[in-house]
Amino acid sequence: MTMNRETFINCILGLALVIVPLIALGMDEPFIITLATKVAIFAMAGVGLNLVLGYGGLVSFGHAAFFGIGGYAAGILASHALNYEPIMTWPFEIEGTTQMIIIWIVALLASAIIALAIGAITLRTSGVYFIMITLAFAQMIYYFAISWPAYGGEDGLSIYVRNGFPGLNTLDPISYFALCAVMLGLAIAFSAVLIRSRFGLALQGARQNSQRMTAVGIAPFRIRLVAFVISAMITALAGALYADLNRFVSPSMMSWHMSGEIMVFVILGGVGRLFGPLAGAGLYIILEHLLGGVWEFWQLPLGVLLLIVVLFARGGLVGVLAGERKHV
């Protein structure tokens, strides 16, 4: 059985993500494990975005909003649990929690509801209008989070102890990394299944020729809306993991810079490639880590490197390595 070149590269990327932290563990370099966890989480946020951006052709410039909603789900639930204050007492009492699984469910539900509302409005537009209207909604949520005093406003919210997962010591860096890596693997596997399903084909069809889809009786709007909601949910889950990595959540998770960064991970790695976000997030964080220690103006060479990639490495990292054009 011969292996497709992209599959081979994907295996290498996956292996690298697992092996690097293990080596770091052996060499007692816990910060490298933290960085690898960050890569896994950002990659997962990118996997979410890639679903609409890569396969659906919908450039959302507002995914940081969902990333932040996931983060706040973790922060708010944990802070209520740690302070023994119920979230609401009427009509029935809801307590906070420090169980990741419940937090994730809340993050998924909250982001789904908000994405449904935002998507229903924004998907009426297309092209640059879509880019900007998604940004507009993210900015609204961002400013709301800054000025809403209940959960810290701009100061953000600390989670003093990382939330728990059954059978796992989440405070141990390598265990938490393993959890995040597994979640990333699941997200990628889910994407892979989804894009090969009838739904995924319809989504890609809607990108390539939306009139034809309408002609064969598939409404592109509904397909896109569902994709947008799923995409937001994956990114929100990554946000919940990120909040727990930092034991802290703040509105900066929702800033337009964050939206831009998630987008950069996807484009850098390769749009519409399953492992593209992992390659992109990995490269970006390695560069940030290496350059940041060397020079005060490290963002200058980072910019130059990004520019070189976009000019000469078309199709992103995975695209160049795999050596084949994906789509126009």
């Binding site: 209008y129 103006f297 490290w298």
Partner: protein, 305 residues
């Protein structure tokens, strides 16, 4: 209260006119070349820094203003020739990534050259002070001058596009990119000129705004987002849309900040009225933008779907 209301209207107008200088360049570049330029805010910053540096060196604000136009135009032309030119045939995503990289390069490069401390730039001597306006309130002379200069630039831009050969080519480029090449227009040169023109407008805005605000690294980013809001509301590629959009955003933002806290104070205690009113005011332009796009998915004057 009525004179205060008048004054705030004028403030809204001034902020709208300033936004127009930024937004017109952005929308022009998008309309003609189909390019999303996130680095437009960096050109605005280049203008402000050039003006501040030259004004400090020569002591003349006017030389500074010239320098801002030239520095931004040259930076724009260089960027177009070296980088942007390779991106016209790419999709928007590559453009977003490349111009995002340009932001990093411009910001840190500026900080490298000028240091991390904000620079000084002030209003020229004869434009300081205030004038008494009809309705009997004082208004800063310089803000009045900005309004007039902004409208003059707008008028010049409409003339340029409506009446000159360059304008005809620009309009042709907006209508059909393939066609003008076939007509024998040197398309590379046209694109460089349009990009430099947009950059110069941004640089000019940077110099004006730098006199009333802080000339510092990163100053272009908030205004970039606003300019994008403006061109999306107005309809991308439309100069007229950019003008209407700018004024709409300028008025909405200023009047929202002014009126919302007062409105909430009629039924809330003052502290929460101020807090809620200001929170809502900071979201207001985005709400307006969402509303406009909900009703008209390609903006007020947009043509493409």
């Amino acid at each position: 209260m009525f004179t205060l209301f008048l004054e705030q209207l004028l403030n809204g107008l001034q902020s709208g006119v300033m936004l127009f200088l930024m937004a017109s360049g952005l929308t022009l570049v998008f309309g003609v070349m189909g390019l999303i330029n996130l680095a437009h805010g960096s050109l605005y910053m280049v203008g402000a820094f050039a003006c501040a540096a030259v004004a400090a060196w020569t002591g003349s604000f006017w030389l500074g203003l010239m320098a801002s136009l030239m520095a931004a135009a040259i930076a724009g032309a260089l960027v177009e020739i070296l980088i942007i030119r390779r991106l016209y045939n790419r999709d928007h995503l590559d453009q977003v990534l490349a111009t995002f990289a340009l932001i990093l390069i411009f910001s840190e490069g500026t900080r490298w050259i000028f240091g991390s401390f904000p620079l000084f730039l002030s209003v020229p001597e004869f434009l300081t002070g205030t004038v008494v306006m009809p309705g009997d309130f004082q208004y800063p002379l310089f803000r009045l001058a900005i309004i007039i200069a902004g409208f003059a630039v707008a008028a010049g831009l409409f003339l340029l596009i409506g009446k000159t050969r360059l304008g005809i080519r620009i309009r042709a480029g907006e209508a059909d990119r393939g066609m003008i090449a076939a007509l024998g227009v040197d398309i590379d040169r046209l694109y460089t000129i349009v990009f430099a023109l947009g950059a110069a407008l941004a640089g000019l805005a940077g110099a004006f705004v730098g006199t009333t605000q802080s000339v510092q690294v990163g100053m272009g980013e908030p205004v970039l987002i606003l300019a994008f809001v403006v061109i999306v509301i107005g309809g991308i590629g439309s100069i007229k849309g950019a003008l209407i959009g700018s004024l709409l955003v300028g008025f909405t933002d200023t009047m929202g900040r002014f009126l919302l806290p007062h409105a909430f104070a009629t039924f809330l205690d003052p502290a929460s009225a101020t807090a809620i009113g200001s929170a809502l005011a900071s979201m207001l332009i985005y709400i307006v933008m969402a509303l406009v796009l909900f009703l008209r998915p390609s903006g007020l004057f947009g043509t493409e779907a």
